[in-house]
Amino acid sequence: MKKMLAIQISALIIVSGSLGGILIFTDVYEDVHSGIVSVLCLSCLKLEPITQTDFTFETAYSDPHPLFVLENLTNGVIFLHYSEDACLGCDIMYPIIQDLFNITFGKEDMVNEIVNFEGFDIVFYYTNIDHSSDKMKKSFSIYDKNHISGLPMFAIITLGYDNGIIRPYYTTLYGTLGLDNDKDRSTFLIELMQESIDIYNQNKEGYSPN
């Protein structure tokens, strides 16, 4: 009886101490909060968000566009790629994006490069939500057009004409784009990029980031 009590108390001390320690001394609570609970797991859901390619001026929660977007729009169309460490859809989309812009990057990297797409400059940002800065995490919710909060997510930001003002004009894509194979996904992205560049070229002269 005493032996069992000793085992129980020891086990409780070890488990409680370890749990308390892991909560106090590591970021695991924040990791679970931001990486699992707040981000929709499309694998868990067994569903894919419907991809709607319509462009809009309005950000997801009516927040202002981030400064890095406003400033970089003078350089070209912006392509934002959001991902996370453990995500089946993200793994499917990596090679497609890398081929599209002829760029290589590691899964955990944060990438900001000007890449070339069919002779035009594209400002490319790759953000792994599990390892990124608060600035980029915030932009994830700003461009979550359909309020999905799921990964992978892609935002293509160009310039549009809105009642006399040239403003950021964007669309957001989710998951594996609702398509069955890599070839279709690639073709879909190429066509959308071409459309974004056309719109950008029509409006870039009148744009000012201020």
Partner: protein
């Protein structure tokens, strides 16, 4: 009976607590029971998802692996598998389907299966699911359990499709997950607590803690038992987990529901700390 009403109230209360995400409460904890973080109202993370993520495709994040195990371990050390009987929303669901399953129990073929020697070996399936599907396959291939999890369909997929019609389309594993979900429904309607008995990987994590848990169910001393037990077998018959209650000693399958305590005419079974 009043005692079982308290258990029902506890299950209902915890079900609502698990869904406080609907009011905006999103925490960084893992549930100590089976519930999906893709549920639109989820407050916490599924412990299995955290475990899968910790070893996803040859990676190893020890904190993410330890965190859910320690949460489950804490409840395991204090109360064993009482979480399954008193808190788990899937347990609550099976409590509802249990009455129908009990009727099926009278069919000769189901009764025969229940008494067959193979039945106790089937209970090891949940350990294979935990190690094989949740941990090893996630390490070697990627999410497998998550992609086909019937609890994900029940608490994530279906509510999402109802709440956001036209916003989502079926994913790659949707059909497989639906088939498994239908099998899950058949299981819980034909075998009482069939999911908990044979397949629940969280039950597999909690089960060994029954051996050392502070709270457990105990039978009266041998002397008293031999003197007073009527051998009516009512305790084993009422047990939703199909345990041979009289001969159990901190059985890993016991969910501490207390039905055997309530039914014993001689009060020979009790909770013990």
């Amino acid at each position: 009976m009043e005692f079982q009403i308290k258990r029902l109230l506890s299950q209902i209360l915890i079900f609502f607590s698990a869904n406080l995400g609907a009011l905006g409460l999103k925490t960084g904890f893992c549930y100590p029971f089976f519930y999906c973080n893709s549920c639109p109202a989820a407050t916490s993370a599924c412990p299995l998802r955290a475990i899968e993520q910790s070893v996803y495709k040859n990676s190893f994040y020890w904190r993410l692996l330890l965190f859910p195990i320690l949460i489950l371990g804490f409840f395991g050390v204090t109360s064993g598998r009482a979480i399954c009987g008193w808190a788990c929303p899937i347990g609550l669901l099976q409590r509802g389907t249990g009455k129908i399953a009990r009727k099926f129990k009278k069919y000769p073929s189901i009764k025969k299966l229940g008494q067959h020697q193979i039945e106790r070996y089937l209970r090891y399936i949940k350990y294979f699911i935990l190690i094989g599907l949740v941990i090893i396959s996630s390490f070697l291939i990627g999410f497998i359990f998550t992609d086909i999890c019937p609890i994900g369909v029940l608490t994530g997929t279906i509510p999402t499709l109802i709440l956001y019609p036209g916003k989502f389309v079926p994913g790659y594993y949707f059909l497989a997950a639906i088939i498994i979900f239908i099998l899950f429904l058949i299981l819980i309607f034909t075998i009482e607590r069939g999911w908990c008995r044979y397949f629940c990987p969280i039950g597999a994590i909690l089960a060994p803690f029954n051996k050392i848990s502070m709270l457990h169910i105990s039978i009266a001393s041998k002397e008293k038992f031999d003197k007073e037990c009527l051998h009516c077998n009512a305790c084993s018959n009422v047990c939703p987990m199909g345990i041979d209650v009289i001969n159990m000693n901190r059985d890993p399958e016991c969910i501490l529901c207390g039905k055997c305590i309530n039914i014993c005419p001689k009060n020979l079974i009790k909770y013990e700390r």
